[in-house]
């Protein structure tokens, strides 16, 4: 593994949880002692080999890690058909959609439930957008015998029905949230409200690399298994590092999990892909492209907001990307210039979704479909011997109803 030097991009945040001007702990006083306590326990866990051992063991035998690194040969060929002469980079996928429960979300949930256990908490709450984090949380709660309450926007419940039933089968209570836009940000508000009233016994498993410190850091650390594995696998298979990493960004956890272990590999470029929804000039969920710095949900970061700081509603066909903010480390990585950010529209994601189904026999989730859309664009511009590694962070079973509707197909 590479060293972290003073110039490293890998030694954030500082001891106040700040990534440059971003991050921090913007929470009500009631929660503050709890957040500090969480940090103390996390630091202790980081020093405890038994914690890492249990985490690794569960990832291997329960989640099914390491996930494969896969060369998408037919997708690469397909891109090369339309690429200029000599262009058309190799496209590789980190197959986190093969994890137990179908997405990267479970990596983080395993880490956080082990922390909850360490802290002696007896019940778990979580917010969810696509329902993937809700399912992953309900799963680890069943596995460890914790009662579990999931907050989910009423709008998202409508478009992610299969996941509601999964959560219920796993024994979780799903609370529909009707306030605001009834999507992910409102589910997070409601989870925070619930948490404030149940601080003593309740652990909040946040589903992305956002929220008050230490969440962005610990979610990143738990998700970094993606990038650590991928880096070793790529070196093993090709003898070199990839030229470009690509990942979709909702709150940014799968992206930071892939990127972070490579941040000090200066020759590896990185691209985070936000959801451009109906277009960046219309309704979208691209907070870096279309927002500005502000404070929400415990951290300072880029937000979709108006001039008074009122939060705008996001839109994306993918419920998991439909959030008006982004994890604070991405805001910092954008401003530092280390990572590039781009976006893909609903339409482009739908096209990429179908392309992957047909060329590779893989039905991706709508979230990584945004990354795949960007991958095909970038591959056209790159040399044939170059390598793109994208995070295939979720499978599409949950999205087939949404896609059928968008394509105007009867199921």
């Amino acid at each position: 593994m590479n060293e972290t030097s003073p110039n490293s991009f890998r030694n954030q945040p500082d001891d106040r949880g700040h990534f440059g001007e971003f991050g921090g702990r913007y929470v009500a006083e009631t929660l503050m002692p709890l957040i500090l306590d969480l940090e103390t326990h996390y630091r202790a866990a980081q020093q405890d080999p038994a914690f890492a051992e249990e985490f690794d063991d569960l990832l291997e035998h329960y989640v099914g890690r390491p996930s494969p690194l896969y060369y998408a040969e037919r997708l690469t060929e397909d891109v090369r058909k339309d690429a200029p002469d000599g262009k058309g980079a190799q496209i590789w996928f980190k197959r986190d959609e093969l994890n137990h429960t179908g997405a990267h979300k479970i990596n983080n949930c395993i880490g956080q439930i082990l922390l909850a256990k360490r802290m002696g908490k007896t019940r778990i709450i979580a917010e969810t957008g696509a329902g993937q984090h809700g399912v992953a949380t309900a799963t680890v709660c069943a596995r460890f015998g914790f009662p579990c309450t999931i907050f989910m926007g009423a709008t998202d419940i409508e478009r992610q029905k299969p996941n509601i039933f999964r959560m219920k089968l796993l024994g979780a209570e799903v609370v529909p949230v009707t306030s605001g836009s009834a999507t992910l940000k409102d589910a997070m508000n409601e989870a925070l409200r619930h948490w404030v009233a149940h601080v003593h016994d309740t652990f909040y498993i946040i589903g992305t690399a956002a929220g008050p410190h230490p969440y962005p850091e610990l979610v990143r650390d738990f998700q970094s298994v993606i990038g650590k594995e991928a880096r070793a696998q790529m070196l093993d298979r090709t003898g070199k590092l990839p030229d470009l990493l690509v990942a979709a960004i909702g709150g940014g956890s799968n992206a930071i999990g892939l990127f972070h272990p490579f941040l000090d590999d200066r020759d590896v470029k990185m691209l985070g892909v936000e959801a451009a929804g109906r277009g960046l000039d219309k309704e979208h969920a691209a907070s870096l492209a279309g927002g500005g710095p502000g404070i929400l949900h415990g951290n300072k970061t880029y937000l979709l907001q108006d001039e008074d700081g009122q939060i705008d509603e996001a839109h994306s066909i993918s419920a998991g990307l439909d959030y008006p903010g982004i994890g604070p480390e991405h805001s910092w990585l954008k401003e530092s210039g280390r990572v590039d950010y781009d976006s893909a529209t609903d339409r482009e994601a739908l096209d990429a979704f179908q392309l992957l189904c047909r060329t590779e026999g893989i039905i991706p989730a709508l979230e990584p479909s945004h990354a795949i859309a960007a991958v095909t664009r970038e591959a056209m511009k790159m040399e044939r011997d170059q390598i793109i590694l994208a995070n295939l962070c979720g499978r599409g079973d949950k999205d087939i109803f949404t896609v059928a509707e968008a394509l105007g197909t009867e199921m």
């Binding site: 702990r25 929470v27 009500a28 006083e29 306030s179 009233a197 502000g294 300072k300």
Partner: protein
């Protein structure tokens, strides 16, 4: 003497009354603020509406939605505050709200606006002492009080940090929870206030879940101030632009109870 420090009489508790600015509309807020003063409120807390009021229960959430739905802008809140200051030169006015609307144009901008509008203090729900530098220094430089919240989870080890740079008064949130829910037991309030007063000379006002004159009187016996919010906001919700007299009568019932409590 500032308006805030003279607002806590020595012989009785002060009544601190909260409403959301711009609810039901920016034009109707003045009448409601006047009703608070006529009813006997000693300190006015004017809520700045926010799309994502994470620490508020349903009543104040709905007030935020009504206010924003009526088109309330930050400029309207300062206009409401300034007009209040002209009508009521001596009644302290405190802005209460969330970090993002307060800091979006920069802390200095916000502090200058507060100063110009005659605002006496600011309560920011989601800027704990750890993040004080994102707003506190700018406010204190303009002599605007930075009013801190203490809660049942604020333990002895943490309290000095909370009190550091706390000015105006200390707001004790008596329950771990959101606004407008249940009230804490009287014994626990008395014990908590005694603990806080041992550590600070600031007046201690107690709020969250106070609804009845009896509850207000109970708190008034042990604290320097009683904060009432959701119960007033619900009256505004029910009566809309005609809420003035209802608000005044209700606030008067609280004020009378507080005045005869000790």
């Amino acid at each position: 003497m500032t308006r805030l420090s003279s607002a806590f009489p020595s012989d009785r508790a002060a009544l601190v009354a909260f409403v959301t600015g711009g609810d039901p509309s920016p034009a109707d807020t003045a009448t409601i603020l006047d009703a608070l003063v006529e009813g006997g409120a000693d300190i006015i807390e004017l809520g700045m509406p926010f799309t994502d009021p994470m620490a508020d229960g349903p009543s104040i959430q709905e007030a935020n939605i009504r206010s924003l739905g009526a088109g309330t802008k930050t400029a309207d809140i300062f206009a409401i505050a300034q007009a209040f200051r002209e009508r009521h030169p001596d009644t302290p006015l405190v802005l209460m709200g969330y970090a993002n609307p307060m800091t979006i144009r920069g802390a200095d901008w916000f502090a200058e606006q507060c100063k110009a509008a005659g605002v006496d203090g600011v309560i920011c729900v989601d800027i704990p002492t750890e993040e004080d530098d994102s707003l506190g220094p700018a406010l204190r430089a303009q002599d605007i009080a930075t009013i801190r919240l203490a809660t049942p989870t604020t333990d002895d080890a943490r309290l000095p940090a909370v009190l550091d740079n706390a000015t105006g008064f200390l707001y004790y949130v008596s329950v771990a929870g959101i606004t407008g829910q249940q009230q804490a037991a009287q014994d626990s309030i008395a014990a908590a206030v005694a603990k806080l007063k041992a550590q600070t000379d600031l007046p201690v006002a107690v709020g969250f879940g106070v609804r009845t004159p009896e509850q207000a009187a109970d708190i008034a016996r042990v604290a320097d101030g009683v904060v009432v919010g959701s119960a007033i906001v619900e009256i505004v919700g029910e009566h809309g632009k005609a809420a003035g007299p209802h608000v005044r009568d209700y606030v008067k019932s609280l004020s009378d109870a507080i005045r005869s409590a000790r």
